[in-house]
Symmetry: C2
Subunit: 240 residues, 2 copies
Amino acid sequence: MNDASPLRTDVRNRLLAKMAAHDWALVAPHLESITLKERQVVEVPNKPITHVYFVETGVVSVVAVNAEDHRIEVGVIGKEGMTGHPLVFGDDRAQHSAYMQIGGSGRRMPAAAFVEAMKQSPSLRALVLKSAQAFMIQTAHTALANGRAKLEERLARWLLMAHDRLDSDAVPLTHEFLAVMLGVRRAGVTVALHSFERRGMITTRRGQLTLVNRAAIEQVAGSFYGIPEAELKRLMSEPL
Amino acid sequence: MNDASPLRTDVRNRLLAKMAAHDWALVAPHLESITLKERQVVEVPNKPITHVYFVETGVVSVVAVNAEDHRIEVGVIGKEGMTGHPLVFGDDRAQHSAYMQIGGSGRRMPAAAFVEAMKQSPSLRALVLKSAQAFMIQTAHTALANGRAKLEERLARWLLMAHDRLDSDAVPLTHEFLAVMLGVRRAGVTVALHSFERRGMITTRRGQLTLVNRAAIEQVAGSFYGIPEAELKRLMSEPL
DNA sequence: GTAAAGCCGTACGCTTCCGTACGGAAATAA
DNA sequence: TTATTTCCGTACGGAAGCGTACGGCTTTAC
């Protein structure tokens, strides 16, 4: 498997990195490096997907919304994955809202080019299907956490998922946005983060918090964290 | 599209019914009619999937479970769909627990035969991908309901989803099982169902409830019900 | 027919989290 | 600098739902 193509040396997205050489050759010409600013919208519900984003730094929030504007995050995407899963299923439009929750950078390619590449390569299809499956598992466990976990457990889970996708221990987010993602009160997040800080698990300052004791946070999240991560690892370490 | 093959006349599963003739020809020889008793286990977490089930009557619950045995239903499957979605993604094992929540009947085929048929037919792949996507949308909205809806709203949503998949207005389930699926107390379900009954929305008797005013139940569920159903319709009415 | 098991109705105290709101501190804009 | 906005800390009453439990009714098993 030759993946020593010059352009690939600085690819940090794990899907792009894992692609077979011939799939990379299919995809690379259409890739565009792009900075992803926080709050930048990536997908709009019921609108056609314009690009597939391969995140390299930063975190995308995928947020389900209903007719009464109730909303909640159903999953996050970072350097381990890609946006635009509906394309993988043969659909052309997004179901959920998706936007950069934490700014960063990545590559993107037009949806049409992605669909064309999928059509041409079974191995590429296999790879992106695994990515979609990993995301689906994440969504299922989000449903589990939403239904059964307490605020602190869910918040800890979210911090761990963000941490997994960042290169630093700092999470540049306001309480307000954490609250929106979890579907809880802003004030509730403030109190919970305070508790975490008092217990030496994080430090905080305006608009940012920093993990300082990940193990303790894992303990709070308990078994609500871990399965999607283990499954992702399994899926991505399997041979194509 | 010739779908007048003799065996197809009594096919009530919508996926099987929608298959192109050549896909049906690929699948049919491996199908086995089967009765699906309530509580019958269909998939076990982390175990290989043995069969794909095309439900014709009855309802399958797909339940996510974590290491501490917290569990919650992440989706239901009836005559509109199939079990064994991980196979569609190229995986051979189940992530979640799946079992007949309401008994019925259907057809099943061995997982290996299903995988082989998928390999041979792009149109079959396209169809089952749509089914998987529809289920994924359902899971996302379950996550939304779990995080933001009240018990009554969630219960109403569940009753509607079950009703959509049954041929009668009767739902043969105990409060206990409804509670397990929603991840709430059995007593909470009892009280909520009482309220529904007082409001003339359902009638109840031991181990069974009957919808009598579906519109009223839809009103309780509000916008937590409907999007996955609309999306399913859209996906299944699209050309392949 | 009697016993056992399963299911439902109800209750009480308690935890969690909501809705709302207000003031102050920090950052940003003018 | 000053004004404005954003963000955070805190508070209070209240709603929702939990854990637990007990008793009675219904169905099933023997």
